[in-house]
Symmetry: C2
Subunit: 262 residues, 2 copies
């Protein structure tokens, strides 16, 4: 039987709330099994970009990472956010190691090709070095990934944290019994966006298709859920989407949030 | 016989000059033996602090790291500078891993006690975790240290890169035959500060005392040289101070820069 590994992604809303983040990190550090964290960026990058006169460029509603913005996200995600999380986890006796994809070459990406839109320095994950991540975990380290990768041509690349989390989970499923848990500011996937208690307990491919067809599940959730189903198809044992406050219940009993099943 | 390990520190002047940095990283990546890099901060932190309206506070000529300045150096040293170096080294087939002291708990420090001056979030190195750094090196990783440590109470601490380099070198001397090489913008310790070719080829405790007494060696070099002698006394094999352009000659033959000997 493979060793358990919990791979947990926290969204920007948790990062932006120091009290929520501290509580989350306490709960995370208390998880008994091997674990890894992937954090989003939060609004602080946008705030710092404004102060540095770096314009947030949007094309057709999509955010563009030009060179000045890449420098901001490298600073903020790879430096400020990542190292503050690592320092807090160390204080909680969790031996965290902060990583961008470039560090030890853990997550290689490809700069997104320019088609209708030039996204700039945005990377799509190509290859996760599961052997070196396993080595870290075997040495009782807890990887903490910033949403940044690299292209082996000298560039850091801005990368979506949700897809990075599922890519890491799929790669680690070669070695571990992997649970992938997306923590955010809601209690799970909701059947009524206005009612935070209307959590859909389980989501199958069939019910997912229905919820999409009737508009219950909206655009924001779709990439996350597509990632979730893809991860299960590629060997991840369990995918849960839950509130950051309910991490421990979600891990322990699978009784919180929305569980995605095939 | 112990395996060789070159521990190289580059100063801020090299960091601030992209062309010099790129050339230095090429030379560094080409070194055959195991190696580690410790980088200073450079002026970019000061520039970004100005843009972010973070005041650079000085007390009696010493720089103070208050909380806003700590956030700036965490971003810039731990994020921007460290990750750009790591990405460049990866492109040069050097499997770099960027680390602050907090990552994997590699360098624990103590917040400097408040006496005449409150330096703020400044750390003095307490303990280097040589076992985990050795593990990284045994796995053919090249550690790249930002001048940041941690206190195990949740804080990142700003730390002098020169002393961090000597602390790491001393700790690694438990396992390796360590060369410690300080690279900066001059050709070595100069007997005439106006003449960049007046390199003192070797410096012993006796000649160091004489040079200090007659004012040849000035205040800026003294902490670096005190660190150098201390490192030799604590088991480091060789200490060299040289120009960043002459790294390869310094490592290969010890024929560049100033060699510090006991």
């Amino acid at each position: 039987m493979k060793q358990k590994l919990n791979i947990i992604k926290i969204g920007g809303n948790v990062i932006d709330n120091p009290r929520a983040l501290t509580q989350f990190l306490k709960d995370f550090s208390a998880l008994a099994d091997a674990k890894a964290l992937i954090h989003g960026g939060g609004k602080i990058a946008t705030k710092i970009a404004v102060k540095l006169d770096v314009e947030t460029k949007m094309v057709e509603g999509r955010r563009i990472t030009d060179l000045p913005m890449l420098e901001v996200v490298t600073m903020v995600y790879g430096g400020l956010v990542n190292k503050q999380i690592v320092a807090q986890l160390q204080a909680l006796d969790c031996n965290a190691i902060g990583l961008t994809g470039a560090d030890a070459g853990v997550i290689l990406a490809k700069k997104r090709p320019v088609r209708e839109i030039d996204y700039g320095y945005v990377g799509d994950v190509e290859k996760v070095n599961d052997a070196i991540i396993k080595n870290f975990i075997d040495n009782r380290l807890t990887p903490v990934f910033a949403p940044l990768t690299f292209d082996k041509e000298g560039n850091i690349l801005n990368t979506n944290a949700d897809t990075q989390a599922s890519s890491v989970a799929v790669a680690m499923a070669n070695h571990f019994d992997v649970n992938l848990i997306y923590c955010f500011e809601k209690k799970g996937v909701l059947s009524d966006p206005e009612d935070n208690d209307s959590v859909i307990p389980t989501l199958t491919p069939v019910s997912y298709t229905n919820y999409k067809a009737n508009g219950t599940i909206n655009a924001g959730m779709i990439p996350k859920l597509d990632n979730a189903f893809a991860a299960l198809q590629k060997g991840v044992s369990k995918v849960i989407i839950c509130h950051a406050d309910e991490l421990q219940q979600a891990v322990a009993q699978g009784q919180s949030g929305t569980q995605i099943i095939l």
